[in-house]
């Protein structure tokens, strides 16, 4: 009983670190899947699109580099939380869903549509449908992430009171 109480205390102490580690991993994982699946395996995304704006190139470059670092860094954060007995799985995957959904939505709306970094697919007449499906999936993941995170927040509040 006492051990679980102690572990609970560690979880609470590192609550925000769990969340951030999850967000970073979600962001990094989605960026990695995007690269592996849509660029390399399916070949839907193009390496470069002539209509890319300068800010699009900048945003894409920064997000790419950041997500590369975040994937590795967030996993080291998980290892760190575990050795401190403070890993909180539910809060962590809440963060993963937030990061994954949030980044996918940013990618689908800002990168694809506003900054025109590249489109989802080029050999299709119905790009709009792809955009709708892409952004809907992203929004659903984001909403589930918000729900899971709010649930863990209830636990936080309960233990505080």
């Amino acid at each position: 009983m006492e051990i679980s109480g102690k572990e609970q205390a560690y979880k609470i102490q590192y609550a925000s670190r769990n969340l951030w580690s999850g967000v970073l991993f979600g962001l990094g994982m989605v960026a990695f899947l995007d690269e592996a699946l849509f660029h390399q395996i399916l070949g839907w995304h193009h390496f470069y699109d002539k209509s890319t704006t300068e800010i699009g190139l900048l945003s894409d470059g920064l997000f790419h580099a950041f997500s590369w670092f975040a994937t590795v860094g967030s996993l080291f954060m998980v290892a760190d939380l575990r050795r401190r007995n403070g890993f909180w799985l539910k809060r962590w995957y809440g963060g993963v869903l937030l990061g994954a959904g949030g980044f996918n939505l940013y990618d689908g709306i800002v990168h694809h549509k506003i900054l025109k970094v590249h489109q989802i697919r080029y050999d299709t007449d119905n790009l709009f449908l792809y955009d709708v499906v892409w952004n809907s999936i992203a929004a659903v993941i984001l909403i589930i992430g918000i729900i899971v995170t709010l649930k863990t927040r209830h636990m936080l509040k309960r233990s505080n009171s």
């Binding site: 470069y48 790419h64 580099a65 950041f66 860094g73 760190d80």
Partner: protein
Amino acid sequence: MAHPHHGNDFPQTAEIILSLPFILGIVIYLFMMIYTNKQGRKWPIYRAFLWVSGSFLSLIAVAGPLAELSHTDFRVHMIGHLLLGMLGPLLMVLGAPVTLLLRSLPVRQARRVTKLFRSKIAEFLSHPLVTSTLNIGGLWVLYTTNLYVMMHEYMWLHIVVHLHVFLAGYLFTVSMIYIDPIPHRRSFFSRSIILVLALAAHGILSKYIYYTPPIGVPPYEAEVGGMIMYYGGDAVDLIIIIILCAQWYKATKPRVHRKQKLASI
């Protein structure tokens, strides 16, 4: 498509001048290793392996068939650049040459070397912002001005550019991951931020090259070269990121648990 060409004597002379430092580096390193081993302090063999393989990869980028092909083919040039400016220097840094040097020198001379490392100029040259600017900024100048085409015309320029690519890559790696003793240390956080920015600038330049071929480079070669630079850079930087994070992880080891462990024994 016409390629920039040069006289017949220039490649060979340049190859000899550029490969000499790497050959000397291998010889001196192995000599120091044998010396310290004789003194009773065993130098790890894997470090020697890293130093020699890093030197070798840098070497084949400046001399031999790969170097010769890179004069006329931008794709090969880019592979050479990744070896000379990124992978070679990284492996050499992991060889911990300064630690070996300090071990094999007499105390008085070793002190002189550490004094040099504590100097203002060393502080400046080991600052991650400075090394990133030298490294990525140098590449921007090389590929977006007529320097790339000039480099194939003038031997001294060819030598200076290649030396710069290697030294900037080496200093960049040294400023990001601390393998050898380094007096002016920066926080993990600031190094991480600068590493991400440098990686982003490298990726953006790769895409810029993809759609804006450097002067004298055919579009197709620029496209493939840009992608080699992009993904190759990602691969080498991944190693640097993992090492940096692992060092961070080690440095932030919680003390409380060690005490608890001691108490439980």
